[in-house]
Subunit: 146 residues, 2 copies
């Protein structure tokens, strides 16, 4: 089964969750969902920690609100990332090569799907697909710079 | 001199601009500026091409407006990318390792600087730094999935 390739580059906090869905595309998508969901939940937690450290008060209600926000943001970012990782992996398999065009296809399709799910304005959906493709291409290029 | 490492993964359209600034951090930053600026300019051009293909008219004024938008967006994305690439590279050199924490530092510092340059709300600047770090970490993780 395809184990997560993250383990090498990922030292502290060590997260290595392996879930086998029996299908490589699904494995990649679930991996993306879990990892990026965790990043987004951490971001939401950091944001709320800053706010409560600044205002100096902390209540059970606030904690509950923070937790709900972590789950919501984690699920949202995780869905986008899982979709992206699955489509990019699928594009790599279909095209048979590994280059920035897979990232562009993944980003554009993810932008399209996420935008189409939340909006009925066709122009906006196409703009979001173009922007998604551009962001994914930019991230892919940046990765090869250093 | 450090040549661009992109050439291997980058087949059609082939772009290989090498500018030597005499300093590795500056080289990486300039490389990021040019490449991501080009991606952003392409995005702006694609957006305007869609709009004029849909409305079916095309004038010199519109072309001029598109070109100005390409330059503006290219410069904006390019600045953010150059800043990010330079800081990430610097963090790698200072820390002596290559892992997701460099991306997090780069993203957080870039978010901080870009936000501080355009806004005077201190809370918003810190939120943007947290979000920048989270986005860069997420992009770094996604890159190791496939």
């Amino acid at each position: 089964m395809p184990r997560s390739r993250l383990s090498g580059s990922f030292s502290t906090p060590r997260v290595d969750v392996v879930i086998d869905m029996g299908n490589p595309v699904l494995n990649v998508a679930v991996d993306g969902f879990i990892k990026i969901g965790a990043v987004a939940a951490t971001r939401a937690a950091a944001e709320d920690a800053y706010h409560s450290a600044k205002s100096g008060n902390m209540s059970f209600d606030k904690l509950e609100h923070s937790f709900k926000k972590m789950c919501k943001e984690g699920a949202y970012w995780g869905t986008a990332a899982g979709l992206y990782a699955g489509i990019e992996y699928g594009a790599m398999k279909v095209r048979g090569t590994r280059d920035w065009k897979n990232a562009m296809i993944g980003g554009a399709m993810t932008g399209l799907v996420i935008s189409a799910a939340s909006s009925h304005d066709r122009d906006k959906v196409i703009m979001d697909a173009i922007t998604g493709g551009a962001i994914a291409t930019a991230a892919e290029f940046l990765n090869y710079l250093t």
